[in-house]
């Protein structure tokens, strides 16, 4: 089981079964990214491994963000497809580069390499994709839908925990409901005028939670 009991945003969810994938959706600046790093860092504290696929920021910026939640970066690998480092950047132990968010094959290769590497350590693995919205800027919805299906299946087969982020304002409502399909659960954020943003959790508890403040 993946322990998430320390994460207030996910209450009342205490733990998630191996193989679970969740979608974190909402407008910009509502706390999606924070939630993802909290989920990864909870793993880090338990000596679990993390793989972050980043399409909108550089690997350095991801590692920087991660370290403010959990200092030890030994068990974190990043697949950087943001293109921010130029095409010639060479892979390191912990960072694999893919030329563009449109190169899903490249992403699947890098993710598989880190997965195999981490599986040797026999520790659990949390995988984050930040974000699906960037992939949708480059590729059509059908391609992304199929990719998410295959990716979450792979996560399920290795017993990992998957967390995928999407900016809900970047796509139509119908697209979002299609994108949700391959996921076991969804954490939805929404803006709330002057008040702090709100969130609710669906699919991870017997009943969806009520909307509540996300601070």
């Amino acid at each position: 089981m993946y322990d998430v009991s320390e994460i207030e945003l996910l209450e009342p969810v205490e733990e998630l079964e191996p193989g679970t994938s969740i979608l974190v959706s909402g407008p910009p600046m509502t706390g999606k990214r924070k939630l993802v790093f909290q989920i990864l860092a909870e793993g880090g504290k338990r000596n679990e491994n993390s793989i972050v696929v980043t399409s909108d920021r550089s690997a350095d910026s991801v590692l920087d963000d991660y370290s403010s939640y959990h200092e030890n970066l030994d068990r974190v690998a990043v697949v950087d497809c943001s293109g921010s480092q130029g095409p010639e950047r060479t892979d390191t132990d912990k960072v694999g580069y893919v030329s563009s968010p449109a190169d899903l094959t490249g992403i699947s290769i890098q993710v598989s390499e880190f997965m195999e590497e981490f599986r040797k350590t026999d520790m659990k693995l949390r995988v984050a994709v930040i974000s699906v919205s960037t992939l949708l800027m480059y590729l059509d919805i059908e391609t992304i839908f199929r990719f998410l299906h295959v990716f979450t299946s792979r996560i399920q087969n290795v017993g990992a925990l998957g967390v995928f982020v999407i900016d809900s304002t970047s796509i139509e409502y119908q697209t979002l409901s299609t994108i949700k399909q391959p996921f076991d659960g969804v954490v939805e954020f929404r803006d709330n005028d002057e008040e702090p943003p709100e969130l609710r959790v669906t699919g991870l508890t017997p009943q969806p939670t009520e909307w509540r403040h996300a601070d």
């Binding site: 899903l104 094959t105 490249g106 992403i107 699947s108 290769i109 993710v111 598989s112 390499e113 997965m115 195999e116 590729l139 059509d140 059908e142 391609t143 839908f145 199929r146 990719f147 299906h149 295959v150 990716f151 299946s153 792979r154 399920q156 087969n157 119908q174 409901s177 299609t178 399909q181």
Partner: protein, 205 residues
């Protein structure tokens, strides 16, 4: 491709490519009981004999006249779309799947491994095709639901058929995805990217 009820593959045509005649012939003897086999003894001969009736190619990577990688590259550019199992002397990187083969076998190969891998790539191809159909159908269903009232759809035969086809596909996809390994993940991703390219080519034509 349609599987028989017992999960075996009917009328599958397999091409074997190896520059050592006794290797090609050995594989063919193993395979001919279950499949229609085409023995070839080099890359050029294989490419000449390749047509769209060939479902799976067992391709040796290290051949003197034309390497397996070169054969693979040419297959990628042609309209035939067989599934390719590369036979290598050492365990390759995942990159090899990105280049266009669907799986690989490391020499020496046992008969059992060979049959397993063939079944695996055929299952993978079927999974990939079903995933594509699944997307098409759920989009169609969502469109119908947004256009027509539910009372109308409940009595609509086309809509009911759509729903039951979606249920069947969902079940098949679920079962198939349970055996998705790292190679299968990469091969299926490459496959969906290839579909996208052919779609775009079709659209601009």
């Amino acid at each position: 491709m349609i599987l028989d009820e017992d999960g075996s593959v009917p009328d599958l045509k397999l091409m074997v490519v190896d520059d050592e005649p006794n290797v090609t012939d050995t594989y063919c003897i193993w395979l001919e009981d279950e499949y229609d086999v085409v023995p070839t003894y080099g890359g050029k001969e294989a490419l000449e004999k390749l047509d769209n009736t060939v479902d799976v190619i067992l391709l040796d990577r290290r051949m003197p006249e034309m390497t397996g990688d070169e054969v693979l590259e040419e297959i990628q550019e042609r309209k035939e779309d067989p599934q390719v199992i590369m036979v290598t002397a050492v365990k390759p990187d995942f990159d090899i799947i990105g280049l266009g083969c669907d799986d690989y076998l490391v020499k020496p190969i046992s008969k059992h491994e060979l049959f397993d891998t063939i079944k695996n790539v055929v299952r993978l191809g079927k999974y990939s095709g079903e995933l594509q159909e699944y997307y098409t159908l759920i989009s169609k269903k969502a469109a119908l639901e947004s256009e027509k009232p539910m009372e109308y759809l409940d009595g609509n035969e086309e809509y009911q058929e759509l729903k039951s086809r979606i249920d069947t596909l969902e079940e098949n996809i679920k079962v198939a995805s349970q055996s998705l390994d790292a190679e299968g993940f990469i091969a299926t991703t490459r496959d969906l990217m290839d579909d996208r390219h052919s779609y775009q080519r079709g659209r601009t034509r």
